[in-house]
Symmetry: C3
Subunit: 363 residues, 3 copies
């Protein structure tokens, strides 16, 4: 199993070192300083050492440049003169840093094979370059494409297909019929394609409605730990290319999410809602069902979304926390806010009447 290390980056012993000259070339950004200097890890400015590459993304931290122990720093041209160490110049230091980190901590190549403890149905087709980890279960007609990594304890139910270069870290459940595009990254505890929450009421009882759609993930999708994406009731649930879902997210049946939309943890998206492209949905947002959310719509944390928002923009709701005594006083008043508004309206009318009376000299 030692050949199938999938998270080598966290090990303490690392040997990869790269020269700033090579980094400059591979990242296509200018270097100021000694190109022979070598780095082997990333670090924040304040805790970097002589083997660390760091970055300055936010001008508020510029003072750290004077004291950092980093071997080199990625920063904007305007900040270059503040640095005492070699620098890589970038218009977007954070993005360049991300790319540098991917060079310093490369994904180890997947080595093909099937662990002897995996249970693979004879009708499943597994590419010779894919890895099926210990205790994984692949049911009938599963297809796993080239260089896919299926970690320990994953369950791929009947008819699932996983495309090239996917990584299912561990203990991922793909329910029957789920389709996963290329280069997906799926974290432990994710449940993709379970039968959605569809019932018809029959007197007091609930009758389950068969859910015969699938869940279809595009390319470059990420699904967080313990996140669920239900399969469609009749048509499919569809997650677009480049969509990133954090942990503990619920995506109901027949939801569609447009390309490159990112959703933060604990958010719930109810059934049949359509979400556009390039949206960002912050943590613990609740989105009701059958809504239409346009492209470039952004919800802030804990927003309560009960109607469609088709125009690009940032939308918010919720009451930020305050000392409990203040909250109690205000919340009691909220229960009478309609009444309060009527009272103000009445006051305005009274004032108007009295003002007119004053104006007419009545007394």
């Amino acid at each position: 199993m030692r050949d199938h290390i999938h998270e080598q980056s966290v090990l303490e012993i690392r040997l990869l070192e790269i020269s700033l000259g090579e980094l400059s070339a591979r990242l296509a950004v200018p270097l100021i300083g000694d190109g022979a200097t070598r780095v082997s890890r990333v670090a924040q400015l304040t805790n970097a050492d002589a083997k660390s590459l760091s970055f300055l993304g936010d001008a508020r931290y510029r003072r750290h440049l004077a004291v950092t122990g980093a071997a080199a720093v990625i920063l904007k041209e305007a900040d270059a003169q503040s640095a005492k160490v070699p620098v890589l110049i970038s218009d977007n230091p954070y993005l360049t840093f991300a790319k540098a980190a991917r060079i310093l901590y490369p994904q180890p190549p997947v080595i093909g094979g099937i662990h002897p403890s995996a249970i693979v149905d004879e009708s499943a087709r597994v590419d010779a370059t894919a890895w099926i980890g210990p205790t994984a279960v692949l049911e009938a007609h599963v297809v796993v494409a080239a260089r896919a990594f299926i970690g320990p304890g994953c369950i791929l139910a009947e008819g699932v297909s996983v495309d090239e270069d996917c990584r299912l870290i561990a203990r991922v459940t793909l329910c029957a019929g789920t389709r996963v595009g290329k280069r997906a990254l799926i974290h432990p505890g994710a449940v993709i394609g379970r039968e959605g929450f569809g019932f018809a009421r029959d007197g007091e009882r609930w009758i389950r409605i068969p859910q015969v759609g699938r869940t279809v993930l595009g390319d470059d999708v990420e699904i967080g730990a313990n996140t669920s994406v239900d399969r469609g009731a009749i048509e499919d649930t569809v997650i677009g290319d480049g969509v990133k879902l954090d942990n503990h997210i619920q995506v109901g049946h027949n939801v569609t999410i447009g390309d490159n939309t990112a959703v933060v943890s604990n958010t719930g998206i109810s059934g049949s809602t359509r979400i556009g492209r390039n949206c960002t949905i912050a943590g613990a947002v609740g989105i009701a069902g059958h809504l239409d959310i346009g492209d470039d719509v952004h919800f802030t944390g804990m927003a309560m979304v009960t109607r469609s928002f088709t125009e690009p923009g940032v939308y918010s709701s919720g009451i930020p926390a305050m000392p409990i005594a203040d909250w109690r006083r205000n919340v009691v008043r909220f229960r009478h806010l309609d009444d309060l508004t009527r009272r103000v309206k009445q006051l305005e009318a009274s004032i108007q009447t009295m003002s007119e009376a004053q104006g007419r000299g009545e007394s």
Copy 2:
């Protein structure tokens, strides 16, 4: 393993076809049109083909009747004349559709057996007609009744019992002592019966209190993906017959939920709260502990339930999302809502005084 297909409905190749005449008879609803017409799948009016059965539940979609490619449609008598295709007449088209879908997509029968990779304690009793899937673990004194389906990766801890016709899809964890009634459907990632969150404070430290109750599920219960139901501290946590829990729900220790109550995803129910029968609790609702919620109580999404509601009705809270600039302006004012109310009261008093002065001719 191919004999133990549990989610056959999502496969693309399906052979089951049924005549409208047979459907009419089995559903006990009148047919208008050719009883020999055969259907093999369900579809929405707008994407149905010549093998599809569809339905019209909501009069707003009646215009689709004119253009649907469906072989047949389930609808109310009043809509029958708008259809160009054979129709099945029902007072409740959605319910009839649900029943028809269950006929078209039958649950395949469970074929008894124990997969060789399953780990079954010698003291466990498994009915010969039940299926224990790959890598499932059954600890001591577990009982699995007739026709139960225990999917891959499920863990049934010591003393668990699972009654007839249950389906545990995959990777379900039933902690020690959990009792599951007949015909339960439990989705991947569900954790039933873990030791609840019970502590006593000892100085700054928390001392865990043994949780010696169980979790007991009635008949026809459904538990969603990654949902947790904690075991009771002293007495049991009890989930009534026909209760349906969606994904990512937290049910605390000693909660009781009455029959046929349905709870939508991401909701949390704190310890020792009692919830009545026939309630519906929408998504992301938070219910505090030690409350008493009556029968036929309904909470809308994201409601914050901090007191008991014993009367039937619909209860709501939360502020719907709005453009962030509006939200910022309003939320700042909320912090002073108590003060604002006092100011209005003061205004009312002033107006009263001034009005009386005007009335008395003082000036």
Copy 3:
């Protein structure tokens, strides 16, 4: 496997009986009554039988003392004379009850060994007194210390270490590099140390940033079912000693939580936020990222935390549920709260003007 019962307490057959005399001595609390009386279980006052030990924590339930069937009751000295049965006297009956319950329901000792179905990498080091359960997977360089219990289906990825006396109930996933301190209790579905949600935007696409920190848990930590704690982006995510996390909690990358802080279910803590010691965070709270929460800060349920709170205190937010008609009326008004406040201000000015006019005798 029968030797590795980890949740014996829920079994119906139990033999452990203890005399009140021994309990009094072990708990170091005074006994009034017959020290030979034996108890074998805990119960609430209202359902206790002749083998039950109960307690009176809240004076509101004192009337139950007269009718309880308990063999003995733990209570405050002031309540002793109300009891008809032997009593154990404690200043903190709930804490003493917790300690008594731990005596009556002891954790069975872990018996060392590795189940034959477990997959243990040859480079892993497992103490001879630790137990590795069925289908557990231990990857390269994992270390499991003395008397640790690794339940069925657990996955310990590369480089994980689990210290003495930990209990991983079942199906726990510890991602690469995670460090777990002594006496941790981790429930099913927990995912510790997954790569956090870190991306840089590259045009419309998201580029994943390698997450090279770890998750480090102190001693006596508890992690609930289906809870996730992400690993750090560069530095570690750190959970202090004695921290208790309930179910369905999300802890983002680089969060730090101080000693003995307790967090209730469904709460989310965003990345890089620091939380102090001895805090209590109720259910479904949302805490934004990069905040600083001090020691002894308490948030009530569903609080929305968007700024730092460094002073000890209780902080709240949210609108409690009300009948839907009331809610609709009030929530419409909330959208105009800023406007309403301005109208009140205008009224105050008008009143002031008119009042001055009246005072000057203008009319």
